[in-house]
Symmetry: C2
Subunit: 338 residues, 2 copies
């Protein structure tokens, strides 16, 4: 089969590789229908994360079950499935608490930018769609594997409730998904912080009510102007830098909440600053498994269309170009078709 291998920073190749097989009775093998490039894949691509040896990259996927191990009982060959980027048993105390990315038996999914992918602990990880989806739903279903679920978690961690005022820091695919989540969870005012015209447009289409182009102290001042002088109820931090975290914390009102899903790059949070802010803070790898049944239904119902974050769609063999376009910010997010 064809699989995407990262050899070194900037060196992405689609190569022939052996098809994955069932290695544990809890595994499933999926024929990938669509996969995509994640912002976090760029950490390796940009040399931020070291690459000890070439490896099969990719962790977002939708596809059709090809084969299951003898202990798999919740999905069967032929079903269309979506799974999280982290495999989880969905039965341990952390899974039952809704934090499947902290599963006591969590395993990272890799090798998804390929024609077939092996998914460990399939019963806990995969969710079948109610029926075979129409072609047009595929991109949106694919986002549920990571990016839309991550935006959803940001909104939940930020405790958005009906009537809330929300700020979304970051206009990448996760931030834009966060706008969708904020809208679905009932936020009345959704302030998207963005400087890119195409992303502003998509944010507005997804439900943003205001765009703030300022950053830093000016950005905070602008948010306060829009929020009764005190700041927002909920802030979704979808970037992961020291600056974006401060932007997030300072944009929330006392008693408000920041959900942070941007992977923190050297971020330190000052205890006194957090203390005096009265802001609640929760982050982490999104437990997207927890949201799959609900979000699949919202996609099937046509309520949400997060697939629009894909502004580039390429055959799998052109994965290298997909990475390059995202790295150069020519694309928000690249979908790959095996």
């Amino acid at each position: 089969m064809r699989a995407t291998i990262i050899h070194a920073p900037g060196d992405i190749r689609v190569e022939n590789a052996p098809e994955p097989t069932i290695t544990a009775p809890t595994d499933a093998v999926i024929r990938t229908v669509a996969t995509c490039v994640c912002g976090s894949d760029l950490w390796s691509y940009r040399g931020v994360l070291p690459i000890a040896e070439p490896w099969a990259i990719g962790h977002e996927y939708v596809g059709v079950v090809e084969e299951v191990g003898s202990e798999v009982s919740t999905v069967r060959p032929g079903q269309f499935v979506i799974g999280s980027f982290v495999a989880s048993d969905n039965t341990c105390p952390n899974c039952r608490a809704g934090y499947q990315t902290s599963c006591l038996h969590a395993q990272q999914v890799n090798g998804a930018q390929a024609e077939y992918v092996r998914i460990p602990i399939a019963d806990g990880t995969l969710v079948a769609t109610p029926e075979q989806p129409d072609e047009e739903l595929i991109p949106s279903l694919l986002t549920l594997s990571d990016v839309m679920g991550t935006g959803w978690y940001a909104a939940r961690a930020a405790e958005i409730r009906p009537g809330s005022t929300a700020v979304v820091v970051g206009d990448g695919a996760v931030g834009l998904s966060g706008v969708i989540a904020a809208k679905e969870l009932g936020a009345e005012r959704i302030i998207a912080m963005s400087r890119h015209e195409s992303r502003q447009k998509l944010a507005l289409e997804f439900g943003a009510t205001d765009i703030v182009t300022e950053r830093g102290e000016e950005g905070v001042a602008r948010v306060k102007e829009l929020t009764n002088g005190v700041g927002a109820d909920s802030v979704l931090e979808c970037v992961g830098t020291q600056e974006s975290m401060r932007q997030g914390l300072q944009s929330a009102r006392p008693g408000g909440n920041v959900g942070f899903v941007g992977f923190p790059h050297g971020t330190q949070i000052d205890g006194q600053e957090l203390f005096f802010s009265h802001v609640g803070l929760r982050g982490g790898l999104a437990p997207v498994r927890s949201y799959l049944p609900d979000l699949i239904q919202r996609v099937f119902d046509g309520r949400i269309n997060p697939g629009k974050v894909f502004d580039l769609s390429l055959p799998l063999d052109q994965a290298a170009e997909g990475y390059k376009a995202m790295d150069q910010r020519r694309a928000i997010k690249t979908l790959l078709r095996p």
Copy 2:
């Protein structure tokens, strides 16, 4: 009148001072019935906070209203009242959200370790008891002015719910009050981290179900043993050091919450560590005003008896000895009687 003045680190004197007067139409003057020494008073006493010039110290108080300004309408002379250590208008957006210590017009109360004290924005700050309290209720009512309200906030910020498992880090007066709060809010298992026998005893009396004497990694391991291997639902961090914050964060389960009320001394929180913990974190100066009506009723009903945290009671004139006993850890908390 007699008032407690701090002149320099370690130099506490009770001196003659002019009685406070109404300076704004929203002020009240209270005849102090009881006051006390706060752990935070020790920061000045120990030279951690600079003392630019001698000042009238003290911010915890109960007493009888002596005089009110022309615009005060919710309390009247002769009423027994309790107020927060931070004066608040109780009408601004932050107050209405339940965060009176972030009131847009907040003022610090000082000079309470004295026979009389002036309270600004009295309507928003003071709450009258339903009747004149019996003498035996005075110590418990006094704790509502700060320390019991602070333990309550820690428990609320840690989102204790009926059936929760809670860990209390810190066995000072706030930590012990946190045990009471955890119990009242329905925690089923309350793990007090304490190495002092007398404080362990009080913690057990207040509702703790387990005592953990270990600290650091050993302390975390012990907590996990007691909590299904994953950590506690709720952690009350009542110390404020880097070590106690880490203890708190590592003792909470993924999806759990840490409420931190120990004033952070140079504490830095690592963004990645918080990210991977999936723990929610909220701290701050407790909005004790918010809890006064409820907590007053619990004291009057005999449900809670937080006054037991006072293990030393002295006449106001012996305030210096009261500070010394707390500084030397001979006393948990000192009550002063004008």
